[in-house]
Symmetry: C2
Subunit: 261 residues, 2 copies
């Protein structure tokens, strides 16, 4: 069914707008994808897309994709600008079903996992998910009080990696216990030269790596639960690295073995 919408007061438009907030996403169990690239990536995966929203001009460029949607909304550029939390919306968007992010007790913990402890910046969270994907990680687990995984800015930075990885939100203490119960090492990170240099670690194929909050690092109580806490030796006079850069260095070093296969 194709419907034309011209007013931002339309109820559909109001509902889409609400997907910019966590509360709205939970209410509708949905989030927005911006642009053809993400729509195509989603269609290749098993993500359920419920609605396609586009300007007449954009919809005309990809008729093959449009035909795969039951619900298509033709809207004005102004409506898209109103709905999307971005300066330059791409003229096309889709409503995707929010995946279940809760631990269900049956997660296969094999492979490399990234955990984020209260990482605040949506760009950092999204970039780390994207990097974890490139580094061949199995999944990412974010703590409560981190930027929400389906926040529009996180979605933009993930660039579609949410379709390639397992993503969970939950209590990291519980996850650490589960990894350790299966004898899988859990590495914390610490801006502390007395911690273990990451270059001396042989993680093996199955491990979890935890990155902490931008300003405060990992919570003390989590640092106390890990197998070991790692440090990136630095020269120069910089006092620290951006958390996403640190994560990139560590993920590509620790998962090297898997990457070389």
């Amino acid at each position: 069914m194709r419907e034309q919408l011209t007013s931002i007061k339309n109820q559909h438009v109001k509902n889409w707008k609400k997907l910019a907030t966590k509360r709205g996403r939970e209410k509708f169990n949905a989030y927005l994808l911006d642009g053809w690239h993400l729509v195509e990536e989603a269609l290749k995966s098993d993500i359920h897309l419920t609605e396609l929203i586009g300007t007449a001009e954009e919809l005309a460029t990809h008729e093959d994709i449009v035909s795969r949607f039951d619900q298509v909304y033709e809207v004005t550029p102004m409506i898209l600008k109103h709905v999307m939390d971005t300066v330059t919306p791409q003229g096309i968007a889709a409503v995707a079903e929010l995946p279940d992010q809760r631990f269900n007790g049956q997660v296969d913990l094999k492979g490399a996992w990234l955990m984020l402890d209260r990482v605040q910046d949506p760009g950092n969270v999204g970039t780390m998910v994207r990097t974890a994907d490139a580094a061949g990680f199995a999944g990412v687990i974010v703590s409560h009080k981190s930027a929400d995984l389906f926040n529009p800015k996180v979605v933009r930075s993930m660039q579609g990696s949410q379709f390639h990885l397992k993503l969970y939100t939950g209590d990291l203490t519980k996850w650490i216990q589960d990894f350790k119960a299966q004898k899988i090492p859990v590495y914390g990170t610490q801006l502390n030269p007395k911690a273990k240099s990451f270059r001396t670690v042989n993680s093996g194929r199955n491990f979890a790596l935890i990155m902490g909050n931008e300003g405060h690092g990992m919570a003390e109580e989590l640092l106390a639960q890990t197998t070991a806490n790692l440090y990136i030796p630095m020269k120069g006079e910089a006092e620290s690295l951006n958390v996403a850069i640190s994560a990139g260095i560590l993920m590509f070093e620790l998962n090297q073995q898997a990457l070389n296969e």
Copy 2:
């Protein structure tokens, strides 16, 4: 001398505002530092600070630092908000002299150098300078058509690393020739699995690494001039890494030898 300013129409305020643009920075040969931390870092280095600008409240908190300035301007929070290109200015700012970024024919090319070919995003440029600092690099050279090194957003991301590294802006072709004339290897980077894996490279202590534009990578003509072009092997289905993440992985791997000393 201490002066009180209350109007955004004051000529000083107008001049500071112009420092947000490249043209303004070049005209006044100056750029702005935001917050006590950067002011203190600058005072520790040999950077010349000409003016201190702060609210009465902030100026009262660091009298020792204030006394080191010949020119101090007490301004309203509104003026600082108007002048600084940031959502939450810290109540204190300083005018710093712009360093000479031109190649003067007498640069010591020893150590590790990062070159940026048309990197557009100010946050990426600033983060890479900060990471180069932490990785013990000697300097960073940015091409014309990259984000300007003293753009306020770059300055914010550098977090003071401009005081620890040599920074140049110029024609990369010229710099590549200089490195090669001194038998120093120059490594390009390429999103191409047929390029050389960075893990197989032994760079030694002196080398240059080039990162390319976010969307298009390095210019073909530069790729043709390097000693070798490197690739980061990726697993997973991500199509690429953020340029600053790639730079972090490469800098910490290639300069490992220097970092371990």
